[in-house]
Symmetry: C2
Subunit: 209 residues, 2 copies
């Protein structure tokens, strides 16, 4: 769902998108590609990573490293890898726990496993509808980016702005270890969701000027 | 520092406060009590808990359960215990990690250890200056409460309002398991602090009306 929402928005913005799956010909991916116009295609994770100038990891967090291994380190080398996943583990029921946290994060795991990739963690702190249309949440509210590569973060900022995130609402949390805080925020997000009854929510960073 | 800041504000608001320490006669506590007027006193954790109608846990999170054991379960029974602590572990250096998280929280540990106490987690998501004076952060921003006992949460809401938190900015995250999200937010808070250079910061919950 996250991948489809992002891919649809990217196509609408004029990008060419290949939706990757474990195997080329995945039914849901093929259905999406068939309905999304000429700029949309589908293929294996490796096909998608090889074709893309920029790679989005929108897989389940607990499967993300395996999916990226399947995509191929050579296909990720030098590229911006936008990691929007959360390592939510529902194997023991609800509420989900995190399969990695506290001393590490999924964003860091991906960066370590693929040192030539330029990993930027972002968007994982909102639901996919808000990711691509921040106006669904009234007022100004904050999106975070974290990563080791400043030009990669600048590219991702530009992408976020094209989704509708105002430049002033995008906060740089520093290196990829900032992913730890962004992922550990999820349990609070889940409680917000329960308390408010809407997934169209976010937080705004308020601070002394 | 957190305890002194809260205690000073509580005295200013007309409450009588006993600052508890591991042993009665703690130098810093005695100095505070001597300077804080007739409504201020100091004593052991047990003295403080026995005297108080309401107990505030403002100890280091990694020492909180031990401090409350020292305070005495009988002295906590039936009372509102406001837990503002964070289980930050700096024993392996910075950034701190959490000594408990993901599948449990300090708030839950305290509630389980003292089942007759009416534990309310709150205030741990801001620094102590903001706790007692939310106007230090411009605009509206959000404070959370979590706990199993609704009347206890109502008492804590009233206390928060007396500190200056507008009623509309206090969000109930449900039972004490909500402490998990509130404590796991700390790594994000620490990154905010690094990114903004001020501890006078908080988040505002923004959502579809």
């Amino acid at each position: 769902m996250v991948g489809r929402t992002l891919a649809t928005r990217l196509v609408a913005l004029g990008h060419r998108v290949t939706m990757g799956s474990r195997r080329a010909g995945n039914e849901a991916a093929a259905a999406w590609a068939a309905g999304a116009g000429e700029a949309a295609a589908e293929g294996s994770f490796a096909d998608a990573a090889a074709r893309g100038d920029l790679v989005v990891n929108a897989t389940a967090g607990t499967a993300s490293v395996a999916a990226l291994v399947s995509a191929g380190a050579d296909n990720l080398a030098g590229k911006v890898v936008v990691d929007v996943a959360n390592p939510l583990d529902v194997s023991a029921g609800l509420p989900p726990t995190l399969s990695v946290c506290n001393t590490d994060s999924l964003g860091e795991q991906i960066q370590r496993r693929f040192p030539s990739a330029r990993v930027v963690k972002t968007l994982n702190t909102v639901n996919c509808e808000v990711m691509v249309d921040p106006s669904l949440v009234p007022g100004s509210h904050t999106m975070f980016v974290a990563g080791n590569d400043a030009p990669a973060k600048a590219d991702v900022r530009a992408l976020l702005e094209s989704f509708g995130w105002p430049a002033d609402d995008i906060v740089d949390l520093g290196d990829i270890a900032g992913a730890r805080g962004m992922e550990m925020y999820l349990p609070l997000w889940l409680r917000f969701w329960q308390a408010t009854g809407t997934g169209h929510l976010n937080v705004k960073l308020a601070r002394r000027a």
